[in-house]
Amino acid sequence: MNRKRALISDAFKVKKRRNGPEQFGADADGDGPTDIRSTLEYLMTLFPRKLFNDALPQIVLKHQLYSIHHDKTLVDKEVNKLRERGELLMFQLGFDAEAFGLVFALDYKTKVLAGEEGKVTRAAVEKFLEKAVSSCTDLSFSKDKMLTEFLFTDSEITQLVKSGVLTVRDAGSWWLSIPNSGKFTKYFIQGRKAVLGMVKKSKYSEILKADIEERRTTSQVKFHMKYHIHDIVGAELVESIPTTSGTLLRFVDS
């Protein structure tokens, strides 16, 4: 849209531009729809595939994007656009009402089908992936929806739950889920607690980002340190303060 007149908000830069430490994509101010995608791909590389023997697709949490792009509303909008186009899938991970996991749709389908090789439940899962996952972007499915819209039978639904594609939500409805993701959730929560503990134990409960990335991680932290840092910054469990020596992470008491 070509504006003849500038917006008043552009005349007064609402946020002072700081020449802060250059991070990957830190200064990207909505350069275009592909920017979120490339950030997602970068975050996916931080996910440890070997840890799960390549059985899990690469999972990124939605709030990790907030630590890289500062405009949260824009990030939300872009993520919804990708979901509507069918390229991205969002999952309710279960340990936090606000923690949503994002997986590329293609990754998800290949991994799930690979996991179903030679199993009895394969046919039901294939049908589910084709019909339900491709067409609707919901996070959960209720019983009548499954029976009437997608024409699944009760036994098929049981098979889907057995295979791990659906998880019980309450009587008569199920969350969409990633098979074998229990291990992921366990290691993730463990790692998050350990990293937060490291920040909290530091002097004044604050530590430079560069320093904590250098630190030797305990056996509790199984993921890449950067993965956890993006997570705690995005979830606002630590405050990210730009300083002359780099970004400082300060523990937030809540």
Binding site: R5, I8, A11, F12, V14, T73, A97, R169, D170
Partner: protein
């Protein structure tokens, strides 16, 4: 800024545009000013403040000790250094003072002859400002968290009252009756607010995580309940269906034009809703720290572009841009939790009160005086800051020439 001025001069721009630009510039420059002070009268935390809508001259404040103070905000002294003096107080010695903390105060919207205060002593009192005696006392069964009188109503003078009881009472100011009750909530009502656009629309927020919007003319239930997922039942667990927040909703504020409604909740989130349809606009403000067990009084700026939201967040006031959700700045200055804040639309000033018994005035930073002006003043004046007109100054010199 000069661009806006020349455009206004040449008639290229609407006069309103220049006004908005200047208001926005002033709000972006809000700072604690050492010259502006508010008299410290409260001995205990300040719970609520209200500035009168007609002149913007007087400010009411209600404290945790039941004391109500009226301040004069206007600065006619001619000096930049000014303390907003307390004009009168309803102190602990008054016979009619509230027994427990005052939770909400509000000026009568049409003149400052009357104000209404409600308190944890389960009463709401309508005071006559002249005599500082209550003209009317309404008694309730539970603590009164919040009340609001519609600022634009011409056809009715109903005061909506939110108490510990899940039923919202509407008290009529003219007749003193309280037969109108709104049913629907299941938890205590933490905040009530009339729409500044339609005099019959009322929004209420409750501890049961729901926000309901009512039309008081309708006999049946509420118009709609705000749903944070916009009807997408799949996003949350099934108990969280139709809730505005994942915790208690303790703050409500309409924008100046009444088109949008802001709500804050103890799930540390603030949401912006379209007040006509009840749709969540999904603006993401991030984590807005909120631990208040009572009503949180926050405010929206008026006459700027973009509008700003001022929310008390712990011991500072957070300023967010309304529609984009980004954090503009944090105003730090209080020593303890901030409970309330109020925006003065004419001067673009913000007043905030908190548990440290102070009311702080955040004033737009004025242009610092040039070096030239200062030295010339030093040469003329004999002793420091004299604002005497140079024509009246003695030009006589004792030098015999």
């Amino acid at each position: 800024m000069l661009g806006f001025l020349t455009a206004r001069q040449a008639g290229l721009d609407d006069p309103l545009r220049l006004r908005r630009a200047e208001s926005t510039r002033r709000v972006l420059g809000l700072k604690l000013n050492p010259d502006r002070d508010v008299d410290r009268v409260h001995g205990n935390g300040v719970n609520t403040i209200d500035i009168d809508a007609i002149e913007g001259k007087h400010m009411l404040s209600g404290g945790a000790d039941g004391v109500i103070v009226i301040y004069d905000l206007e600065n006619f002294s001619g000096k930049p250094q000014y303390t907003c003096k307390a004009v009168c107080t309803v102190g602990r010695s008054s016979r009619y003072v509230h027994k427990f903390s005052v939770e909400t105060v509000q000026w009568y919207p049409y003149d400052t002859g009357m104000f209404i205060s409600s308190s944890f002593d389960k009463t709401m009192k309508v005071w006559d400002t002249e005599t500082l005696k209550p003209a009317e006392v309404f008694e309730f069964e539970g603590n009164v968290y919040s009340h609001h009188l519609s600022p634009i109503a011409r056809k009715h003078s109903l005061i909506a009252v939110g108490t510990q009881n899940p039923k919202i009472q509407l008290c009529d100011l003219k007749s003193g009756s309280r037969i109108h009750v709104l049913h629907g909530h299941r938890g205590e009502i933490l905040s009530v607010r009339w729409s500044p656009r339609y005099e019959h629309i009322l929004a209420t927020a409750s501890a049961d995580s729901k926000v309901k919007v009512w039309d008081v003319r309708r006999a049946s239930g509420c118009l709609f309940t705000l749903d944070q997922h916009n009807g997408d039942k799949s996003k949350a667990s099934s108990e969280a269906v139709n809730t505005a927040h994942n915790g208690r909703v303790n703050g409500l504020c309409f924008t100046g034009d009444g088109l949008y409604l802001l709500t804050t909740g103890t799930d540390d989130r603030m949401r912006l809703w379209n007040s006509a349809t009840g749709e969540n606009t999904l603006v993401n403000y991030g984590k807005v720290c909120n631990e208040s067990r009572k009503r949180l009084q926050f405010t929206v700026s008026h006459g700027c572009s973009p509008e700003f939201v001022f929310v008390p967040c712990g011991s500072s006031v957070a300023v967010y841009a309304l529609h984009s959700g980004e954090l503009v700045t944090m105003l730090r200055g209080h020593y303890n939790n901030v409970d309330c804040c109020e925006f003065h639309p004419d001067y673009q000033e913000l007043y905030s009160g908190g548990k440290d018994c102070n009311i702080l005035a955040w004033v737009p930073v004025l242009r610092a005086s040039d070096v030239e002006e200062e030295t010339s003043r030093e040469n003329k004046g004999a002793a420091g800051q004299s604002s005497v007109n140079p024509a009246f100054q003695d030009a006589w010199s004792s030098d015999e020439d």
